[in-house]
């Protein structure tokens, strides 16, 4: 039996299943494509610059303190892509994204505080900043995955 685009077998509809018809709505695709169009160039540039910095820059490189900051620049693009994705989201998507960001932010702050307190007793971690970043991003990412399991 043929179904008009977007329609589904009535028995499946009765059961609430969405196996027939497009899994993503046009709004989903529009949001995803816009996000990827902004996010991918920034993150690819980040990885390229990170590889360059890790392989070519060390303490003896002239202007090393500036060169090692180079990968931070494309992260501005990533931040803008995330901000714009939040703006483009519909009302429920925005709530989900903000809840997950709040979780990530909370865990980041706890990690930063832990690193700060450890620093007070001279436990200085060279990579303490990465611990804070990793904790926050991992929490945010996991929260998004869990919330999107529908």
């Amino acid at each position: 039996m043929l179904y008009i685009d977007g329609m589904m077998d009535p028995t499946e509809a009765q059961a609430g299943r969405t196996g027939r018809g497009p899994r993503l709505s046009a709004e989903d695709k529009r949001q995803r494509n816009s996000y990827l169009r902004e996010f991918l160039p920034a993150i690819v540039t980040f990885w390229i610059l990170l590889a360059i910095v890790l392989n070519l820059v060390d303490e003896t490189t002239p202007g090393a303190r500036l060169w090692v900051l180079l990968p931070v620049l494309p992260m501005i693009g990533v931040a803008i892509a995330l901000y714009r994705a939040t703006q483009r989201s519909d009302e429920y998507g925005r709530i989900v994204m903000l809840e997950c960001m709040a979780l990530g932010f909370g865990v980041s702050m706890i990690a930063a505080m832990a690193v700060g307190f450890l620093g007070m007793i001279d436990v200085a971690w060279t990579y303490g900043g990465w611990l804070v970043f990793g904790a926050g991003m991992t929490t945010w990412g996991l929260a998004l995955v869990v919330r999107n399991l529908d």
């Binding site: 009535p10 509809a13 018809g21 497009p22």
Partner: protein, 78 residues
């Protein structure tokens, strides 16, 4: 808040994605609405009512908690 979205969507023979297209929202939003995990904003509730050619009151049934009253009576704001 309870709603009849899943029931009305099934009667219409639409997928969640198709309903989402008609509303201009994501499929995830439709799913959350149907499962009662999310109560829509007033503009979205009006769009839902229009899509199903019905009224908001026909679509949504508030719980006692939503009404803030346990006996269903309405008190004067003054």
């Amino acid at each position: 808040m309870e709603n009849r979205l899943k029931e009305l969507r099934a009667v219409s023979g639409w997928s969640q994605a198709h309903l989402a297209d008609r509303l201009g929202v994501s499929r995830q939003t439709v799913n959350a609405l149907e499962k009662g995990r999310y109560d829509p904003s007033l503009p979205l509730a009006f769009r839902l009512a229009r899509v199903f050619s019905t009224t908001i009151e026909e679509l949504f049934t508030p719980d006692d908690d939503d009404l803030g009253e346990t006996d269903g009576s309405v008190t004067s704001p003054v």
